[in-house]
């Protein structure tokens, strides 16, 4: 049977924390515990002469992530996917998600 995962188009992750809070509420997690957590890179200038910056957020699932099995069984999306304000998290079988990895900055998590 196929495994399911989370495909994240992190070029467009704005760092809004909705996935983190939605997850905490879904799993009822206390302070200090997360089922998914933002990692941040930057900001820094990519080259001294240039004008381009690195400022990147990537939500990373933890070992507490169960891909919202109960929600999915009820026909819903995992809570982080449902609430992501930039709509950058997609849930599904990893083979299908892998085929969608066509944008330059994407990552596939299989929690």
């Amino acid at each position: 049977m196929s495994r399911n995962g989370l495909l994240i188009d992190y070029e467009y992750c704005t760092g809004c924390h909705s996935c983190e809070v939605a997850c905490k509420k879904e799993l009822n997690l206390p302070k200090g515990k997360h089922g998914i957590m933002l990692a941040k890179n930057g900001p820094f200038k990519l080259s001294e002469a240039g004008d381009k910056w690195e400022l990147t957020y990537v939500p990373v699932p933890t070992q507490l992530c169960d891909l919202c099995g109960d929600r999915v069984a009820n026909g819903k999306k995992p809570s982080c996917v449902h609430h992501c304000q930039a709509s950058v998290i997609e849930y599904g079988p990893v083979e299908e998600l892998a085929k969608k990895m066509t944008n330059p900055r994407m990552v596939l998590f299989v929690p």
């Binding site: 467009y12 760092g15 809004c16 924390h17 809070v21 939605a22 400022l55 999306k77 992501c84 709509s87």
Partner: protein, 749 residues
């Protein structure tokens, strides 16, 4: 959601059962405060709200939701909320209260109001609200029709520097509000065949993914970026949008007009404007062309620190993009010449031919003409006041633009001066509903604190016992939050119902409080038996009742483009804009009548490297402030343990080079000090800010600390508006230097 069972009852709400939960589909607005009104699903058990989710079937937010609504149950169920009306029994600031009934509270208010009418005149009553709350129509109605006073205000907000300068500018220049077009007016959204994807969105002086200003959901811009929209960002700080922009104009805070005028200079000099639109629809183009000659990009570079070549490239890119739009924000307003900045930006979108085109700058009115009860209109009941009272509105005599703006109110600085001086008349009663006065938007926090202590009778309406309630209030009335109210959301579109799902203790909704007091004080102007009757009256233009709207949850009007060509803007039905000339007034004759400059110009902040070079040795840094964090809406949400986990303390953003010179490390508590005052915040080292500039967060207080004075929840300790100034507005009376002053920063021992 067809696999869930509909709830069988006589309610017209859209509800169903999911296991133990009753689920209600509705809209959230307010509290929590927000400029948006997203579609939500409330999950309740009996009378308790357990969780909130975004409504996945909504074409407005498509299921997504921000942390403040996701976390709403924590605030709704907070045992520290105000539960019933309370009367002060100790001195102001002692935090000693007695529980009273609503009738007792109304008796006290009625007696005070009637005594004031008799002894001093209705105009000595002032009311105030905070931004982004569902009180923007109902509290004006309370003010004008129940209290019979002309003095509805946005608190002490210096220069009324939140949207009102832009609203005033749009009023006389264009005659209508505009917002950027992400096809949010049409139920088909991006599938509407008439809509066009903007080639360029220019984001000016705001970070819309967090602030969501003007009833615009900022992430719609992210949706459009994915489809190919390019960005220009005008901001002193590297926002997420700036990091992905084709052009980031990192300007010195408070110099936006210089940049705007230089962009106009390039577009006009190089002939990149829409000749046809300018010929047909713009008044005063020659005069504007002359004015912008004074602002070549090289001069703008000197003023704003933005390289001239970058201004040129951005201007060309904007002018050539079809369509293009400008998402503007609070930083436009928070400068002395805020109206001028707004005028220059209005001119940019007008002469490039982007007004009311698909994917451009949409001219917008409330959906179905429903502009009472729950809209951003501050005029409900004003026309019914006698002229003699209307003329007594504070500030309009000295600043006539306050008579004409699209959202005019009393002038906050003038209210302060009246309290302090008793001129032109004393203030005997102050009513504040959903605003936190000196803790949030007011400048010179300690001055406001001292002034408010002098007002004889003060009433606060809020869900939370705020520092302002503790410091000033004689009566505190508990306000319902969004999940506890029946109301509407119509800023801007679609028209949405807000359904009451639960009741918390004895709280009442803003509508209930206003209607009940109105019926006591001036029943003729409140001819409704119930709030539902009042909502039904407000909904008449849409041809639906509240119950029918609840069944539909939201309804979408037809979207119209090029309204100025179709005769859809003016009362006379003729083509043209809703202005005195029927055109876009690039040059404003009426400003000449008022002794104001009829064209946009740059004006230095009162304290800046240019205005006060002698002070820069002592205060070498430019201080900007008040950009929005994800976790909090202004002074709200500090009591939330979940949101404070993400954002425990107030943050001062400082460039690592500057911090190193000052011996400051990331995470150090630092003092921020200038000639007005000093406060403490935690340093965050960030190269995205210019080494000459620092940014401090606003509206901080600490609900976990002692409420009574002198601690007062630590409301002066980190409040950045201890350092900003009241009564330093520009010539129109609108706009104040809230985001552009000076300071020094040093490590707190």
């Amino acid at each position: 959601m067809s696999n869930f069972k509909k709830v069988e009852n006589d309610s017209h709400k859209v509800q169903w059962q999911e296991g133990d939960y009753t689920v209600t589909r509705t809209c959230s607005w307010t509290a929590p405060g927000c400029h948006d009104g997203c579609s939500v699903l409330y999950y309740t058990k009996g009378n308790e709200l357990i969780k909130v989710e975004g409504d996945p079937d909504s074409k407005y937010n498509n299921g997504r939701l921000c942390v403040r609504c996701l976390n709403a149950p924590e605030l709704v169920n907070d045992p520290k909320r105000v539960k019933w009306p309370m009367k002060r029994v100790g001195e102001r600031g002692e935090n000693k209260w007695a529980r009273i009934t609503w009738d007792e509270a109304y008796d006290i208010i009625e007696k005070n109001v009637r005594d004031i009418w008799r002894d001093y005149g209705a105009e000595t009553i002032v009311t105030a609200i905070g931004t982004g709350r569902n009180t923007w129509s109902i509290v004006p109605k309370l003010t004008y029709s129940a209290f019979k006073s002309p003095n509805f205000s946005m608190g002490f907000l210096a220069g009324d520097s939140c949207y009102l300068p832009r609203a005033a500018a749009m009023g006389t220049m264009i005659g209508d509000f505009f917002i950027i077009d992400a096809s949010q007016m049409d139920e088909r959204r991006f599938e509407n065949p008439e809509w066009k994807l903007p080639e360029c969105v220019c984001i000016w002086g705001n970070n819309p993914i967090i602030s969501n200003g003007d009833g615009f959901l900022g992430h719609w811009i992210v949706d459009m970026m994915k489809m190919g929209t390019k960005l220009i960002v005008v901001d002193p700080y590297l926002t997420w949008f700036a990091s992905r922009a084709d052009y980031w104009l990192q300007l010195r805070p408070g110099t936006d007009a210089a940049v705007g005028l230089a962009m106009l200079n390039v577009i006009i000099e190089e002939g990149l404007y829409d000749h046809d639109f300018v010929d047909k629809w713009c008044y005063g183009f020659e005069e504007l062309s002359e004015r912008v000659k004074e602002y070549p990009p090289e001069k703008a570079e000197e003023i704003s620190w933005v390289p001239a070549e970058k201004i040129r490239e951005a201007a060309r890119f904007f002018a050539k993009a079809k369509p293009a739009s400008i998402q503007w924000g609070l930083a436009i307003d928070t400068q002395r010449a805020g109206v001028s900045v707004a005028n220059s930006i209005c001119a940019l979108v007008a002469i490039t031919g982007n007004l009311d085109v698909p994917g451009g700058q949409h001219l917008i009115r409330a959906a179905f003409g429903v502009d009472r009860l729950a809209h951003v209109a501050s005029d409900w009941g004003f026309a019914e006041l006698p002229k003699e009272l209307r003329d007594k509105r504070l500030g309009v005599e000295e600043y006539p633009l306050y008579k004409f703006g699209l959202a005019a109110t009393s002038r906050g600085d003038s209210v302060l001066e009246a309290i302090e001086s008793g001129r032109p008349y004393p203030i005997k009663m102050y009513w504040f509903q959903s605003t936190n006065l000196f803790v949030c938007c007011a400048s010179e926090a300690k001055r406001i604190y001292a002034a408010m202590k002098q007002v004889p009778f003060v009433v606060c309406v809020d869900p939370v016992l705020t520092p302002s309630a503790v410091a000033f209030a004689d009566l505190v009335l508990p306000a319902a939050m969004s999940v506890e109210r029946d109301s509407l959301r119509n800023w801007w579109t679609p028209l949405r119902s807000i359904s009451k799902v639960i009741q918390y203790e004895e709280v009442k909704t803003d509508e209930e409080i206003v209607l009940e007091l109105g019926k006591r004080l001036n029943p003729e102007q409140f001819p409704w038996d119930t709030v539902e009757d009042m909502i039904d009256w407000a909904l008449k233009p849409a041809g639906v009742t509240f119950k029918e709207l609840e069944e539909k949850v939201m309804i979408w009007p037809e979207v119209n483009y090029y309204k100025y060509e179709k005769g859809l803007l003016r009362e006379d039905g003729e083509p043209g804009f809703n202005t005195d000339t029927g055109m876009v007034n690039l040059y404003q004759d009426i400003f000449v009548d008022w002794g104001l400059d009829p064209l946009p110009f740059h004006m230095e902040p009162p304290y800046s490297p240019v205005s006060t070079p002698q002070m820069m040795k002592e205060y070498p840094l430019v201080l900007t402030a008040g950009s929005r964090p994800w976790e909090f809406f202004h002074s709200e949400h500090r009591q939330s343990a979940t949101l404070r986990e993400f954002h425990p303390n107030p943050r001062l953003t400082i460039n690592p080079e500057t911090a190193e010179k000052l011996g400051i490390k990331d995470g150090d508590w630092v003092w921020i000090e200038n000639n007005i005052g000093k406060v403490k915040q935690v340093a965050v080292l960030d190269p995205g800010i210019d080494p000459r500039v620092v940014h401090g967060e606003h509206a901080w207080w600490f609900p976990e600390r002692e409420a009574s004075e002198p601690t007062l929840y630590g409301a002066f300790e980190s409040n950045i508006n201890v350092l900003t100034t009241q009564c330093t507005t520009g010539p129109t009376g609108y706009g104040a230097p809230l985001k552009n002053t000076i300071c020094k920063v040093y490590k707190a021992e």
